[in-house]
């Protein structure tokens, strides 16, 4: 089963043979159209409507006023910076932890492999809120962790672990680590051992092999997991509201607030659309940069 998940999430997708792929993809495309593209169009339409306190009879006029308001509000700027930093930090920590685990996963025996795979999959099966509350209890001022630290004499009085930027990044990293491990494990596994051995026989140290062989050859997996973790982290709502709350305000909180508390759907829609486009642009930029660094377009045969 692990193998199935690995290959399903793997980076092995290649362009080419468009027509041959289109037919089996048809059901997915239809689903995508109904449940993703149509709501997205609706979101875009709504974001272009004028803001009304009670949107019974929305003004049919198209206006960019919401977008102007989105960019004018300094609170949004602060939230955007927070979101960006949280996303980047989560990506970096996730990759730093997941890559060694992925390498270990491909080198170790079958017993350890099963163990790590199950450990990776379990958090996905656990209900998100249950998982977050677990962290909540752990990090609370008089929670398990702080009591243990105090008992050991390592800290003196309660610390504010919860409601902080590091806590938010920590929980987001935990939550998204399994995806990164599974993707990277498949990427690392796809690097033929012969190539690593060839580099070793040519005298390369492990660090140099990592830098000159492993990193470029697993770059698609790194890019894929970075994109996944970044977009999941930046768009996460539950974890920021429960762990960071008002100390680390992020964009999804504002979207939620516009949509529910303030009943200002057009503003919420405009903000959501800005977030979507930003994530898409950052993702695209990252892919292009990684591809250019490894010159992938030049040598990869499809």
């Amino acid at each position: 089963m692990t193998r199935l998940v690995l290959s399903a999430l793997g980076s092995g997708t290649r362009e080419g043979g468009v027509l041959r792929w289109l037919l089996p993809l048809l059901p997915v495309l239809v689903l995508l159209l109904i449940f993703f593209l149509l709501p997205l169009g609706e979101l875009l339409r709504m974001s272009l409507l004028a803001t009304r306190p009670m949107p019974r009879t929305p003004d049919p006029d198209v206006t960019l006023a919401n977008y102007v308001a989105v960019f004018a509000d300094p609170l949004h700027a602060e939230m955007a910076v927070n979101s960006l930093l949280v996303g980047l930090a989560t990506v970096i920590f996730t990759l730093l932890i997941a890559y060694p685990v992925a390498i270990y996963l491909t080198r170790c025996g079958s017993w350890e492999r099963t163990f790590i795979s199950v450990a990776c999959l379990l958090p996905i099966f656990v209900n998100l809120i249950v998982g977050i509350l677990g962290w909540y209890i752990l990090l609370l001022p008089f929670g398990v962790l702080q009591q243990a630290l105090q008992w050991a004499g390592l800290i003196d009085g309660p610390l504010r672990l919860l409601r902080s930027f590091p806590a938010l990044v920590l929980v987001l990293t935990y939550e998204h680590l399994p995806f990164a491990v599974l993707i990277l494990a498949s990427a690392v596994q796809n690097v033929p051992q012969d190539r690593i051995n060839a580099a070793r026989l040519l005298g390369a140290s492990n660090l140099r092999i990592f830098r000159t062989v492993m990193l470029p050859l697993t770059m698609p997996g790194i890019v894929a997991s970075a994109i996944l973790v970044f977009s999941l982290s930046v768009s996460s709502y539950l974890i920021p509201i429960l762990i960071g709350a008002q100390r680390v305000p992020v964009i999804p909180m504002a979207i939620f607030s516009y949509g529910t508390e303030q009943m200002n759907w057009p503003m919420g829609a405009a903000l959501a659309f800005v977030l979507l486009v930003s994530v898409a642009l950052i993702t695209y930029g990252f892919t292009v940069l990684a591809g250019r660094l490894t010159r992938r377009g030049q040598w990869e045969v499809t």
Partner: protein, 363 residues
């Protein structure tokens, strides 16, 4: 032949060998794969490990390279035991069956890899890479990527990459098995030419007897994790000693025979070997190669008998023939007749096996 100028063929007792394996043993999951291997390779010598699939050739090569750890025995490189030296510091060149080129680097960067590791100045690197590409006859592909090259060209790049650091021992693991027959023959000669030009000792792994016979100074025929026969191609071919080596190297008719004091008797065949007069009543296994069988020999030819032609098939340069000698099946390969005449199936023919061609086997 190379070994001639070094006096006797450099066997396990070669003076100052580049590589010496003593009692090398290896198990995988409790399963013995190598049983105490002994071999020494002299400087500049070309030695081939030849054997069927699964006999432990690749394992031996990986042990020499340091990619696997030996369970027992010692590996000496340039006189020093290297069992605990990592592959990085063994200073060996190796070409893998898959070539193992770095796909994200150009040909020049691939070849330069070992020199970059040594932090050689880039001007010297460019010079050495150019010289290496000339040696493997691949000028002008510096900036191409491996995926843009044919199999044979990739093979040459892999060879250049392994040799650019001037190792004194080159390891080749079935380097030609991914090439088609014509290219394989060409690369056999190319590898041999480059190996001779650089004077680099080479350990080749193959399961193709043709490759082993044409390229090697010495051949080690392996079976089930042991070296069964070690010698020059001619020695191993003419005197294989065991039935396995004899039939692995080429076709042969193998017979069980009993000595009557002057000749070995197998059915109607009376065979006198060239070497020694056999003592009476000794049982031996005899063999001879199809190409040594003479059809319609002169009347006074030794080791002659009468056989019935069962099949005769035209193979271009020669004719393959199956003779029935009172129940014994005798394979014969005859030079093609210029007039295009084939021995007719069903006709009786006299045939003879020259005493030189009779091989005595232990098994």
């Amino acid at each position: 032949m190379k070994s001639a100028e070094e006096g006797a063929a450099p066997g396990v007792t070669a003076p100052d060998p580049i590589l010496r394996l003593e009692g090398l043993a290896k198990s995988f999951q409790g399963q013995r794969v190598l049983h105490g291997l002994d071999i020494a390779i002299g400087r500049g010598e070309f030695v081939t490990l030849l054997g069927p699939s699964g006999c432990g050739k690749t394992t031996t090569l990986n042990l020499v390279a340091g990619l696997l750890a030996a369970d027992e025995g010692s590996i000496r490189l340039r006189g020093a035991v290297v069992n605990d030296v990592p592959p990085q510091r063994r200073r060996l060149g190796m070409v893998f069956q898959s070539y193992a080129l770095f796909p994200h680097m150009t040909v020049a960067e691939n070849i330069a890899y070992g020199l970059e590791v040594q932090r050689m100045p880039s001007r010297d690197i460019a010079h050495r890479v150019g010289a290496m590409l000339d040696l493997v006859r691949l000028p002008g592909v510096e900036r191409k990527f491996p995926s843009q090259l044919s199999g044979g060209m990739q093979q040459r790049v892999a060879l250049a990459r392994a040799l650019v650091t001037e190792p004194d021992l080159l390891l080749l693991d079935e380097p030609l098995s991914n090439l088609d027959a014509a290219l394989r023959r060409e690369m056999q000669q190319e590898i041999k030419r480059i190996q001779t030009a650089l004077g680099v000792a080479t350990l080749l792994v193959t399961h193709s007897q043709e490759e082993a016979l044409t390229m090697s100074d010495r051949i080690a025929v392996m079976r089930g994790g042991r070296i069964e026969r070690l010698g020059t191609p001619l020695e191993v071919w003419r005197d294989p000693r065991t039935r396995f080596v004899c039939t692995f190297l080429g076709d042969a008719t193998v017979l069980e025979a009993v000595s009557d004091g002057t000749a070995f008797v197998a059915g109607p065949l009376h065979l006198t070997p060239a070497s020694s007069a056999p003592a009476a009543d000794t049982r031996r296994t005899l063999a001879f190669r199809p190409e040594h069988v003479r059809l319609d020999p002169p009347a006074d030819a030794p080791n002659a008998a009468l056989g019935l032609v069962r099949e005769a098939s035209f193979r271009g340069a020669h004719v393959a023939c199956l003779l029935d000698c009172e129940g014994l099946a005798i394979q014969a390969v005859l030079p093609a007749d210029p007039g295009g005449r084939l021995p007719q199936p069903g006709t009786p023919h006299r045939f003879a096996i020259p005493p030189d061609a009779v091989m005595l086997l232990d098994d």
